[in-house]
Subunit: 312 residues, 2 copies
């Protein structure tokens, strides 16, 4: 076992979660939610996306969100940037990090970005050149890294070609995105080992969805492989267009609860995090999939007198 | 790593799940659900409970369920039996195995069984003597093995005293029950190791609830410790009276999906299992927490033409 003593939890609910919401969440509310996350100790957040406001109207206020949020010292505000124009807007808005993505699946990439993987890789080269002298970090992200809803399994060689491209143009941080919840412990172990062998200086982040209920089982596999960076969403916000009713991203509070109970340092206060998740439920007007927000931490005790027991 | 190549999945939804349901599920429906589970390849089931029909009216038809269900060769129909009277009824009804339980928490045991742990241990001695010459297996179960909703943490010495008693009166199979979802990977690792050290011939089963979202993370820890027997509930049926809205037992389909994807043999057909979970939802008239039943197995592909993608 090679379990890290400290883990970075990257909150992606404000981007990966909110982008699925059709009712616009006003900018002030978004800022208040982000400030709540920072107050809970979150220090790395994917705060918004500089995609076309026409494509994702929910995130049209990206620059205002970045300008208005409290950004404590040591925090890193990442933003998704799909193209040169988006990167330019992200730099202007003062983002700390851009996340540049491509899908490991040709059909998913065409559906999502309306271009071939090869053309996306060219875009990534151009973006790398564009930010070379800018004061901004860059991170790659590969969607459908563990499977595609149209194509099924992704060949490891196809994935490795993309990892290699990111590496060649200077990326040293990479997220493996389990966009539609197809990761399994076996795949995670295999994929992480392959990338580590070929690119030992690439820092990996794992981004799981709980679409098939095994998101935190995959985190356990990642931890055992020594991976110390995970993306999750407050309340388990998010979803998958191919699995109506199923869960979205793994839930930040449940992840932090798990890590805290394993004695792994996150720097995040669980009670404050639960308060933000509860506020997110109120904002969206519906129940979110998070569990710890419903049950409370394990040592929240109950009154003996009022309690009913189920037998066994 | 010491991950087993084969795992026994024990279905407990018909007992631990249904006992929480206030609307009576008719006997024919219960039998049909059990037959569906057997057809899917489940071979070990906690089918019902010989508790007082006044205490749990839902399971008042225990003998009829056992008499009516298809019991394929090699199957094991276990039943909960809280006292000498229950054991007698279980033997008469032709159960293959009785499960005899006590809580690791004094206050939970009083609330649940209306007696002290010491008195429950005496009952267990008497039951062991009663079944000594009967053609029935016996298994112990310890509720609140990983924590109590009234008392919080359970001292390992308190747990070990109970394990020792079961062992002394001849039990060689024991379920550690995470009755209200308080198990964590650290606790599981620690507890399993302690019992193994002192009682290497005691076969352990882990019974987790997903109350705080980390049920399958705990399974991963159990697997890494070599534990090859787990209890789960179809659809994730069940619940915890202390966490309204939170999940119940870990979900059988999600567990079987995880194990199958890890290459661990279960003998269970996932598609048939999902069909039973779907039927259970129809019987109860509500959505259950299971995820794979909503999303389908990972290689169920989607039509490219009709699909919408979320960015990233």
């Amino acid at each position: 076992m090679n379990v890290p003593t400290k883990v970075e939890v990257i909150e992606v609910g404000m981007r990966d979660g909110l982008q699925m919401e059709s009712d616009f969440v006003d900018t002030g509310t978004k800022i208040a939610l982000i400030n709540g996350l920072m107050d809970a100790g979150v220090r790395h957040i994917e705060a918004t996306s500089f995609v076309s406001p026409r494509a994702v109207p929910q995130l049209a206020d990206a620059a205002d969100v970045l300008a208005g949020a409290h950004r404590p010292s040591g925090s890193r505000f990442a933003v998704l940037a799909p193209n040169l124009k988006g990167v330019e807007r992200a730099i202007e808005a003062g983002a700390d990090e851009i996340v540049v993505f491509v899908s490991a699946s040709e059909s998913h990439n065409r559906k999502n970005l309306n271009r071939s993987i090869d053309r996306s890789l060219d875009d990534i080269s151009n973006i790398a050149a564009q930010v070379q002298h800018a004061d901004i970090k860059k991170k790659g992200a590969i969607a459908c890294a563990f499977g595609c809803p149209f194509e099924g399994d992704i060949e490891l060689s196809a994935l490795m070609r993309i990892v290699g491209h990111f590496h060649a143009v200077g990326f040293r941080a990479l997220t493996l995105g389990d966009t539609t919840g197809m990761a399994t412990p076996a795949l995670v172990e295999h994929t992480v080992a392959a990338i580590r062998d070929d690119y030992p200086d690439m820092r990996l982040t794992l981004h799981f969805h709980n679409t098939r209920g095994i998101g935190l089982a995959n985190v356990m596999t990642g931890l055992n492989a020594g991976i110390d960076s995970y993306e999750s969403s407050i309340g388990g916000l998010g979803g998958c267009p191919f699995a109506p009713g199923a869960s979205g991203n793994i839930c930040t509070e449940d992840l932090v609860y798990l890590l805290n109970e394993m004695g792994i340092e996150t720097g995040i206060d669980l009670d404050k995090l639960i308060a933000v998740a509860t506020r997110m439920e109120a904002v969206l007007g519906r129940t979110l999939p998070g569990q710890v927000m419903k049950s409370g931490p394990r040592l929240r005790l109950h009154e003996y007198e009022d309690a009913a027991c189920a037998t066994g």
